[in-house]
């Protein structure tokens, strides 16, 4: 306001001849209108720039250096990326473990979550209680205590084998045998089905009941109703859950870290990608290399997500 007023008062400079003054006043108006908003956003903005974007940009820079956390970083060009691509057998091992985990845990977890959500949707008495109980493992999901518990359950003399012994089966030590250890982690992940379940439950509530009534009048079986009504109408929710759970699965760390004692063993069978990244960064002081690994993971997740979005148009039906 001030600038504009001063500009008109000055006979030599009119508003029309000074576009900057106009721009200034416009910016000032926008500022005056939005400043409180930005002020209240400030904590988040500081957090985002200081704790998320800033470190991300720095790690991108570090991925082209040989930073060892103590000496200053030296530029090495694409050497870290070249090494990942051509000369790192552990990268391949970690990738294999992680992909196995993603491919197994996500579909099973979603199927299980949908199954439980449908059961709960039948109008069970005390629904909120069940919902809370089933959701609990998800809340505890990344916690150390649960991973420790899992270690106890699946150890050679753990509860699972004690149960199997009743049927005369002598189970192996699930968590410490390279052929089985990954499956105990998949099982742990499936057990934490709570958060996709809650979202499925909300999605199921959106489906109009008269559709089912009409279908059953026409003599459609339960299975056919599920296949023809529930599933298609639920695809947006399935899509959302699949994307979120896939990203989560790629980033899984805590269970493998606890169950293998940070080693990724036995024989790299639980060497999750993030665990390998952690070992390189903090165990072997190769922060530059670990940063490169992190960016490769970002790239892989981005590709998976983009692929999901591209294919979604063929199977996700939005109700419009």
């Amino acid at each position: 306001m001030n600038n504009a007023m001063r500009a008109t008062a000055d006979p030599a400079v009119t508003v029309e001849h000074n576009p900057r003054a106009v721009a200034d006043s416009r910016w000032r108006r926008i500022w005056n209108a939005n400043a409180p908003g930005y002020f209240f956003l400030l904590p988040w903005l500081i957090g985002f720039f200081g704790l998320t974007l800033g470190p991300a940009v720095i790690s991108l820079y570090l991925s082209f250096t040989d930073f060892d956390m103590i000496r200053s970083a030296e530029w090495v060009g694409a050497a870290n990326y070249v090494r990942i691509a051509t000369a790192d057998p552990k990268f391949a091992a970690a990738m294999k473990v992680t992909l196995t985990y993603v491919v197994l845990s996500v579909p099973f977890k979603l199927a299980f979550a949908l199954l439980v959500a449908m059961a709960l949707n039948k109008g069970v008495r005390g629904l909120p209680v069940y919902r809370a109980i089933f959701y609990l493992p998800s809340l505890l999901g990344g916690s150390v205590a649960i991973a420790v518990l899992w270690r106890q359950l699946f150890a050679g003399d753990g509860l699972v084998n004690a149960a199997l012994a009743h049927f005369g089966i002598a189970g192996p030590s699930w968590i410490s045998h390279p052929s089985y250890s990954i499956y105990t982690l998949v099982a742990l992940s499936v057990w934490q089905f709570g958060s996709p379940m809650i979202i499925f439950l909300a999605g199921l509530r959106q489906i109009p009941t008269d559709m089912y009534e009409a279908a059953s009048l026409d003599g459609a079986s339960k299975f056919r109703q599920f296949y023809k009504i529930t599933l298609p109408l639920l695809t947006p929710v399935i899509f959302f859950n699949a994307v979120v759970q896939t990203i989560d699965a790629f980033k899984a760390f805590t269970p493998a870290f606890i169950i293998s004692g940070g080693t990724g063993g036995p024989i790299n069978s639980t060497l999750f990608y993030t665990l390998y990244l952690y070992q390189e960064a903090f165990g072997n002081f190769r922060m530059g290399y670990a940063s490169a690994l992190a960016w490769i993971l970002v790239l892989i997740i981005a590709i998976f997500t983009a692929f999901s979005f591209l294919t979604s148009r063929y199977w996700v039906h939005y109700d419009d």
């Binding site: 005056n32 960064a281 165990g283």
Partner: protein, 428 residues
Amino acid sequence: MTFSINRRGFMAGGVSLLTLSAMGAPAFAADSRLRLIWWGSQPRADRTNKVSELYKAKNSGVAITGEFLGWGDYWPRLATQVAGKNAPDVIQMDYRYIVEYAGRGALAPLESYMPSKLNLSDFDQAQVEGGSVNGHLYGVSLGANSAATVLNTTAFQEAGIDLPTQATTWEEFGKMAAELTKAGKRKGMFGMADGSGNEPLFENYLRQRGKALYTADGKIAFGVEEASEWFDMWNKFRDAGACVPADVQALDKNDVDTNTVTLGKSASGYAHSNQFVAYQQMNKDKLALSNYMRITKDSKGGHYRKPSMFFSVSAQSKAIEQAVDYVNFFVTNPEAAALLDVERGIPESKAMRDVVATKLDAVGKIPLEYVGGLGDLAGKLPPPPPSGAGEGTDVLRNISEQIGFAQLTPADGGKQLVDEITRILARG
């Protein structure tokens, strides 16, 4: 609605903030302020903090803060602090990492403070040397220990088998362990832990054969032949039922809590002497310490006395002299020694050893006597492991597991071990 902070308001606020902080400053001002960091459990923290209290009582105007973490969390924290130029003044350092840190200029060389500020004259000189890298002293040893076999004497007695002696060979011990397993007095207990992936044990085996893990200039110091024979020996132990199966051994996270001896899965295992007190606390049976077995009756011992851990001073410290003084107090003050006991190993100073020896209980005496009684089994301390040795440890464990789970033959395993360690060392 408009919203703005004008310049005057901003200045006023800023000035008042500055005033506040200036007023606050004297409250924190001590003449000097030391920060310590170490790894270990609560009992170690209690002992360390008591020594700090004692030091403060004798040096007015020094404020000391200490923090401690478990081994696994310790190294990431320390590396982050050093990278952030925020390293504590006094740092507990391990033999395995001292070359990494000293080589990168993170630690202050201490030899110029000797002997006026730092008096290590009645230390075992070989042990002082252990804290040196490239001719500079970077760490003061806090105690000596040695690798050892832990024996569950109760389990041996129950099975009617004599304990091994200093003369027992691996072959004999393998037979004894297999017998103990066969006796089956305890469900699921084997004669010994699977030590094929245990680096100190493998090193001992190499030293008995006149080899070593690494040379002084950081190269691999053993060949495919030794490594293959080592893995082959353990395969025979596994086949005979002398040692625990691979899936039981895989649960061992290389600490006292998860060791097969502690879990009651084996009657013997491999440890370091300063861990003995903790082992005994966690086991109802009576335990004993013995040396690692000999390859042949007349083979030289592969043991050595090793600095259990060091105190180093950060090169970034603003109070290096004060920090050196604290370290000196820690290792040479009799009252401090009495508080510290043998929890970090046997004191290096002879005078402090005498102080501690009079106070030890029966369990505490066992490691003291064990390390003192090694005799001709103890040889020269090897040079500090080179950069990348930490990865070598993981590779040994990984390959021993592949052989244990029958995914690799001992011959191929030996070749792979040598190849991978050579590759790691070349990378640095």
